[in-house]
């Protein structure tokens, strides 16, 4: 099938794209909603301005739409974006990286049903530790761009999601109930490299804001670099 991936630049949507290709589907486009609402429940927001660099690295067209981010109005924006993807890229379905968010999954399902599109959520109800191990095993390079939950501090921002990260976040999970995959919005990620990236991303300029149990990386400049021969 020709599919559009709901793409935020984070680990879940990027991994979902890889799965869709492995299952034999063609990715016609990435669909990205740039929400002005920093606390959007629907759309993962940090680093979303640099999704175009990831699209470039993947060699996949990007359909990007701005949203004021006003709760249910965001869904009108998403529906509009998906309708444009149907018209422009002839998509037959949507892929999302939803793991446990009923809020997100049900809203995406409703839009797909309305537009008569297939909807794929390959990580639905997946074990979160297994999910992170999958990313690590596939040698994704993802960094944490925002943390916002009790137990986190500024040192988490910029960390790569690797086995050390998994070890530490399991401790936060045991102590404070933090979701390993960040499904409750506890943290957000940005992918710098992945198996299907033809180039890797490098952050050249950034600013980190730190508060109590909150930290956010404002990325200012990203460049594309050649990948090494070993890749």
């Amino acid at each position: 099938m020709r599919l559009g991936v709901l793409f935020s630049g984070g680990k879940d949507s990027c991994l979902a794209l890889h799965y869709a290709i492995e299952y034999g589907h063609k990715i016609a486009c990435l669909i990205c909603i740039k929400s002005e609402n920093k606390d959007s429940f629907m759309f993962h927001t940090p680093a979303v301005d640099f999704v175009d660099k990831q699209a470039n690295a993947l060699g996949i067209p990007l359909l990007s739409i701005k949203s004021r981010g006003k709760e249910e109005r965001e869904l009108d924006d998403l529906r509009r974006a998906i309708k444009t993807a149907i018209d422009r890229y002839k998509i037959q379905g949507i892929v999302s990286g939803a793991v446990r968010s009923i809020y997100q999954a049900s809203r995406i399902q409703r839009i797909c049903n309305l537009l008569q599109l297939e909807c794929f959520n390959p990580f639905w109800m997946r074990n979160e530790e297994g999910h992170l191990l999958d990313l690590i095993k596939r040698r994704f390079v993802c960094i944490v761009t925002r943390v916002s939950a009790y137990g986190f501090d500024g040192k988490w921002v910029g960390r790569e999601i690797d086995s050390g990260f998994l070890y530490d976040i399991k401790k936060l999970n045991e102590k404070h109930g933090v979701s390993l995959a960040g499904e409750g919005g506890e943290y957000e990620s940005f992918v710098l490299d992945a198996p299907l990236f033809r180039k890797r991303l490098a952050i050249e300029k950034k600013m980190v804001r730190i508060g109590k149990h909150y930290a956010c990386m404002d990325i200012k400049k990203v460049v594309l670099e050649k990948k090494g021969r070993e890749e």
């Binding site: 099938m1 799965y19 869709a20 299952y23 034999g24 589907h25 009923i102 049900s106 809203r107 399902q109 409703r110 797909c112 049903n113 008569q116 599109l117 297939e118 909807c119 794929f120 959520n121 390959p122 990580f123 639905w124 109800m125 997946r126 074990n127």
Partner: protein, 183 residues
Amino acid sequence: MILVVNLCREKMHELEFVKPVCDILATAGREFSVKDYFHLKRADLNAAKIILCGTSLMDFDYLKNTKVFEWVKKYRGDLMGICGGMQVIAHLYGGGLYKDIEIGKIRVELNREFFSMPQEFFAYSSHTLGVRPPRGFEIVAESSQGVEIIRRIEEEGGKRMILGVLFHPEVLNKEIIEGFVGW
């Protein structure tokens, strides 16, 4: 051994509709195997219990092929149908299907005792066809939109339960699947 029957037309949907059920069985320490509904063999029906999983909102292939499910009436073990699986059961036993879109979190109320479930609970629903229960099935639970759980206990030739759950218990109510396998 529990047989988990995959109704999905698209392979990638198995990750969404079959794997979560399998994960619940694995966590409960239950041995299981997975088969596609159109690849079942006679030997597969020796399973102690069978679960028919759901599939995507756009997938109705299983309803175009209901002859493939005729074995359901001859099978003597406990059978549970989830979403599309429940629609198959209802259709085979003479019940009705009608257009009814229900997507998202719903509130379910029990009419009968049902495993260890509370009188009211939330569930996750994702279907576009509601079910009119066939004769011989009791309505165990309903939502504001309609029937959500049906059940039939057969005593003849050994006690067995046929259970239909229209919502997806693998999302918010794994105790229903655990209750079924433990019954």
